[in-house]
Amino acid sequence: MTFKLFERNINHSINVVFSGKAHRLNVEGDESPFIEYFFNNSYENEKLSEKTHAYAAELILKKLNDTEIEFNFIGHRWIHSAGEFKTVFINDELIRKLHKLIPLFPIHHPSIISVINKCKSLLPYIPQYITVDSSFHSSIPPEAYTYALPKNLINKFGFRKYGFHGLSYQYVANKASNYLKTPIQKLKIIACHLGTGGSSVAAIKNGLSVDTSMGYTSLTGLVMSTRTGDIDPMLGIYFMYQYGYRPDNLMSLLNKKSGLLGVSEFSSDIRDIIKKISTDKHAQLAFNMYIYRLKKFIGSYAIILGGLDLLIFTDDIGINNWFVREKVCEEMDWCGIKMDLQKNQNVVMNSISQINSTNDKVKILIVPNEEEFEIFNEGVKLMEGNQK
């Protein structure tokens, strides 16, 4: 869980006065959870005795209180609302609606609600709002979002591809276009959002999302920390019918015990897996599957975009893991991807880095994402709308 406190000055300039990240919440692995704080040009960290999001939120609010930093609003990222709303204030009625939307994103939605409730109980007078992450993908065309299922079911249940990580894609695509001094309308972009939890890929054309690897839920697409990514849908029926699995048990296995964790059999964290890659065959297989699936998606999107101008890596693994980036870009010259291996290993942290070989047609950028900034932006729009 990341957090950032933005201050907007009278001249509309914006600065971050307090920020940080709670690591390894609800993660299985060797190390214990901890929070990092950045404020007043200083750095602090503290270990957590519980690994829940609500507990981390409580500590963060306590730290803000201790440091006497005041604030007016709390904004949350909500993952997926099936197109119901984009950015709205939180009240009891909305919380009831949010509860109904838990099945659309069973991993994050309960955590977000727990954090909202924690903030509400500790700071009942601070207004809170949510902004919905999947909105960026509303431009995906029918041929990409349609499942070949009967129309009455599609209409009744809303089965279609929605996509996720929208705030991240929106932010990095615009940042990259500014960096390259090229209008976003002129760029065919593939962006890889590789996170410590969920990961996805998006194809972006004319500044709009045209396809993405996650689907109706965040289960599909890439091999992720604990999620399977694409699998034969019939496996769901097979295990319930042949082996008597209960639906919620099976869902939980596919969402929380699969992916890197399922294949490696010891960790959901790709850093742990890379450490053991030469000595443990399960680690090697998990890593290979992760890279292989990603390369396939890049290929699909290069074809449907009709070419590629820009490949973006973002989010934790995308930004910090040179080895993953190197392996993804290996033997990809068919679509013009050629990485400068030296540049890729020696990037400056927390800034945009260009890592393609000089003069190559396809630019490769590492763009640190700042979803919090998009949440802030959406929040400002909401407040301004509210004042009118």
């Binding site: 070949a148 299922l149 839920t217 699998i231 496996l235 029926i237 399922g262 998990a286 292989y292 074809i303």
Partner: protein, 357 residues
């Protein structure tokens, strides 16, 4: 005379190839089955060989073509749970005929055998050991066609072609990637449902949908029926249909929309395979109805402009293999007309000849 048997639940389809003549029928398992065949050909002694089509050979049957030995029936039995409806018919009819006519050659044509050796990163699902140890993995399908296409390409171009993508267009369209003569990935997974949607199968969907339908009160049987028999082109058009009917009426609004989605999915699969092959030297379109599929093939190739595919759109069909790429196309493209029975029969004949010589 060769007897070919194909599961056609709940019946077994049988085809007798005798030169150019073809006798066909469907029978229930049991002595009635043998009686039906004898009635069709007169004397059972005319049969020189029996071929059985097996849809999923799992980990047991590791090649496309497998001549029976003393373990075959036992191994075949182990495959039944993978695809009970179909595999049990193959197993039971093999038991019946093998016992009845042990003196002739019995051959399994296993549709997953060609894909047995694909790398693990392509054949496994990223699921926990608890689930993977049950034997679920991507077994693929239509291996007989894909292997046949590879053999045709090698005959035509020699073995210099390193990177091939096969695209089967038909009632259950699917795609395979071949590198240095060995398959490395394919679009069909554990079941035929995974991959490109078919006439009635849903193709790749978010598996969460199954759980939602189940909690909404549908039974396993209903969900299975929905995803296998009421989805795909049939769902998109809102009536029972096939890809050929859709192609025939391609200017209709629903048909055009369905074909657009279909083409899009095919292109995504092609892209993913071009990516893992790091380029492609040859694309083979395989179909039982190449002529009817030709315009769709042209459309798909148009979507591949960016990787240097250039085709002659009005190339007239001359034979079973037709090169449709232009001479300056970076990737060669061929169309291959096929017939399942002919492929099986030809294989069988060459095996019988080898045995004699």
């Amino acid at each position: 005379m060769i007897l070919l048997l194909n599961p056609y639940p709940p019946l077994m389809q049988w085809i007798i190839m005798d030169g150019k003549n073809l006798l066909e029928g469907k029978s229930k398992l049991g002595t009635e089955f043998i009686y039906n065949v004898v009635e069709a050909i007169g004397n059972i002694r005319k049969i020189k060989g029996i071929g059985y089509f097996l849809y999923n050979g799992g980990k047991e049957i590791k090649s496309s073509i497998h001549i029976f030995d003393s373990n075959t029936l036992q191994n075949l039995k182990k495959c039944v749970p993978l695809l009970p409806e179909y595999n049990n018919l193959t197993y039971e009819s093999a038991r019946l005929w093998y016992e009845k006519m042990p003196w002739v050659m019995h051959v399994l044509f296993c549709d997953t055998g060609f894909f047995t050796g694909v790398p693990l990163e392509a054949s496994l699902y990223a699921v926990p050991k608890e689930l993977s140890m049950t034997g679920i993995r991507r077994y693929g399908g239509y291996g007989i066609y894909h292997q046949h296409a590879l053999e045709c390409a090698e005959q035509y171009f020699g073995s210099s072609i390193k990177r091939i993508i096969n695209i089967y267009i038909g009632n259950n369209s699917n795609i395979a990637a071949i590198k240095d003569g060995i398959p490395i990935d394919f679009s069909i997974g554990f079941t035929m449902i995974e991959g490109i949607f078919s006439d009635t199968g849903c193709g790749d969907i978010d598996p969460t949908i199954i759980f939602e339908l189940y909690s909404a009160g549908m039974s396993f049987e209903e969900i299975n029926n929905l995803l296998s028999h009421l989805s795909g082109f049939t769902a998109l058009l809102g009536k029972k249909t096939t890809i050929y009917e859709v192609l025939e009426n391609k200017n209709g609004t629903d048909e055009a929309e369905a074909l657009k989605i279909f083409k899009y999915n095919v292109l995504k699969y092609i892209g993913s395979y071009v990516s893992i092959l790091n380029g492609v030297d040859l694309i083979i379109f395989i179909s039982n109805h190449i002529k009817e599929s030709r315009e769709l093939i042209n459309e798909i190739c148009r979507g591949l402009n960016f990787i240097g595919v250039k085709i002659i759109t009005d190339e007239i069909e001359k034979s079973n293999i037709n090169v449709i790429s232009k001479t300056d196309s970076k990737t060669k493209v061929i169309c291959l007309n096929i017939n399942k029975w002919e492929i099986m029969n030809n294989k069988f004949k060459s095996m019988l000849n080898n045995k004699r010589s």
